[in-house]
Point group: C2
């Protein structure tokens, strides 16, 4: 039953870019390429630390960790450490740690959402069951914790333990807003600040901390990560209603089917209420609030989103966060091309279509 | 929606003892009474640290933390710190931390086992749903982690982070043995060493570490905790097949109905195989392996356990671990009556009927 892992299993998944040659040089790919050697070290650590004599653990962990995704969070740790002039090797363990926290969160998210797919393939809970996903998620989280303790810096431990608690709080907050059509824009931004942006922020800040960056400079890295994370999540929300299925790895409208309140829907409901359009409010209550959905409802939802320009307005909000992210990174003193790469990665996060 | 908590909500649940006056002076009660003031401090911290602006978190956390149980793990931290001569207040936070880890584990356990009851009342997942139980479990675990980081000792962090990872590994191991009638005694002991005994061991060891006890002495405390935890779990296994329903707070035979391989069943299957009694082996395969159970199967299982003396033999194994626990604690230098109290608590753990 044991699974042999190799670093190639864990290589960054370039499929989407590779199938769209015109995008191979986008900012996220450039960032990845610039830190490919460092990311290999991180991948080696990930392989090593997700091992266990309990066969189900590496099997499931491999399934979800190897599935890849963009490895954006560990890349941010590596790039921010580099920007801060760091030349040691502590950032490898911390980047792995950040990825483990992220992966543990994904495993539990999929159980909570009862998801059957992630990144275009069957989700871990669909293959291994919810029970294993809950427990292996716990295992990966505890391994993240061990990696931090091994690093030995109480400052880093403080940042990552606070971030972990905030993520958990954000996830519970999201659960409370799901199916609640009275969720406000601010409540929604609080949710994604907790569940998404805080790990981006911590990933960047610990990159600065290992380099012993002064407090105000490390804070700028955290601001950068927070704003990038907010922008990233909002674009995810847009893509859920508008992505090219082949690239996205998710069905269009997953959030809608799960009754998730994301910013496009919050804005559409706000507009309907402002217009005293009870028919539209009733539509959202039935489909998202009560999850009573019929054929054609997704098309109708898309029509309402379009009527009120909600996807475009969500993109504009994302752009505002991106602008803040770029301002923050420009305020960090640093060397070489990493500044440019991080700025290009922000732009690519906004422009991406998958 | 917010719930106001008071320390009295979190008071040790004395109901079982109170309803059986002859047991009010058992060793566990004496240990509790001796550290009641300290435990109140721990309870205050628990209340403070399980709070959150996200209303569902304190609601659910209160439901499960306030449900009480024996508070044995934090009591062990308090008592071991006292035994080691500690006079500061770091042990309060660490005792709360140990209880949070335990509670997070319970929440996830109940989801994994699809349990509807715990300690005689509806389980949190039955009341709040599996989704909330998974996420609030994560939250409590991250709060435990924050408490450890606030303590600031890398030695303590190392012990508790390793313990947490081992618990998660033990839980996955248990999932792999559930419904597997070929589980060996050693495999089962490995499971409970991971999922139960390691937290008892860590709870005791950190009590020694805050007192700056020399390494070999802290190790004795860990041995004490480990052996007590093993004994405690084995008695739990016996009680699941033999407790007085009113005291136990669980249905007799829960483990059987869930297809859990516990030591009594492992021993019964071993005996059946040794006797080449295919009928009995087939019975366990059908009921525990395939979970194909009918009326009367639990009675039949109890009859087989009785035929091979499996409950008694499990009690004997528990007694062996208890003997090791007592030897370990006797090897720790210490003052006052705490030695006696800890020894009495071991005996009470073996003799308890609930």
């Amino acid at each position: 039953m044991n699974v042999t892992l190799t670093t190639s299993d864990l290589a960054h998944d370039k499929t989407p870019a590779a199938s769209h040659p015109e995008r191979t040089v986008d900012g996220l790919t450039r960032l990845h390429d610039a830190f490919e050697a460092d990311l290999s070290r991180v991948n080696e650590l990930i392989i090593e630390r997700m091992d266990s004599p309990v066969a189900m653990i590496p099997q499931l962990a491999r399934y979800v960790v190897a599935a890849g995704g963009k490895r954006l969070r560990p890349l941010l740790t590596l790039a921010c450490a580099d920007l801060a002039g760091y030349t040691g090797d502590r950032h490898y363990g911390l980047a792995a740690c950040v990825e483990f926290i992220h992966t543990a969160t994904l495993l539990h998210d999929d159980v909570v959402d009862d998801s059957s797919e992630r990144r275009g393939k069957a989700s871990a809970n669909a293959v291994f069951g919810n029970q294993a996903s809950v427990l292996v998620g716990d295992f990966l989280f505890t391994r993240a914790f061990e990696l931090m303790v091994a690093d030995g810096s109480l400052d880093v431990l403080s940042v990552l333990s606070k971030a972990s608690a905030t993520i958990a709080e954000g996830e519970v907050m999201q659960l409370a807003t799901t199916n609640n059509i009275d969720t406000t824009e601010q409540q929604y931004l609080d949710v994604i600040s907790g569940k998404t942006a805080v790990l981006f922020a911590a990933a960047c800040e610990v990159g600065g901390l290992v380099a012993a960056l002064p407090g105000d400079q490390a804070e700028k890295l955290r601001d950068f990560g927070h704003n990038l994370g907010m922008a990233f999540q909002l674009i995810d929300d847009v893509l859920d209603y508008g992505a090219d299925r082949q690239d996205w790895g998710k069905e269009i409208g997953d959030d809608f089917r799960e009754g998730k309140m994301t910013l496009p829907v919050v804005l559409a409901i706000d507009a309907a209420k402002a217009n005293r359009d009870q028919q539209q409010v009733d539509f959202w209550q039935r489909t998202v609030g009560d999850l009573d959905q019929q054929d054609g409802d997704l098309d109708q939802a898309m029509a309402y989103l379009s009527q009120h320009g909600c996807l475009q307005r969500t993109r504009e909000r994302a752009q505002q966060f991106a602008t803040h992210a770029i301002a923050a990174i420009q305020a960090v003193k640093g060397e070489g091309q990493t500044h440019d790469l991080l700025i290009a990665a922000v732009s690519a996060s906004i422009d991406r279509r998958y």
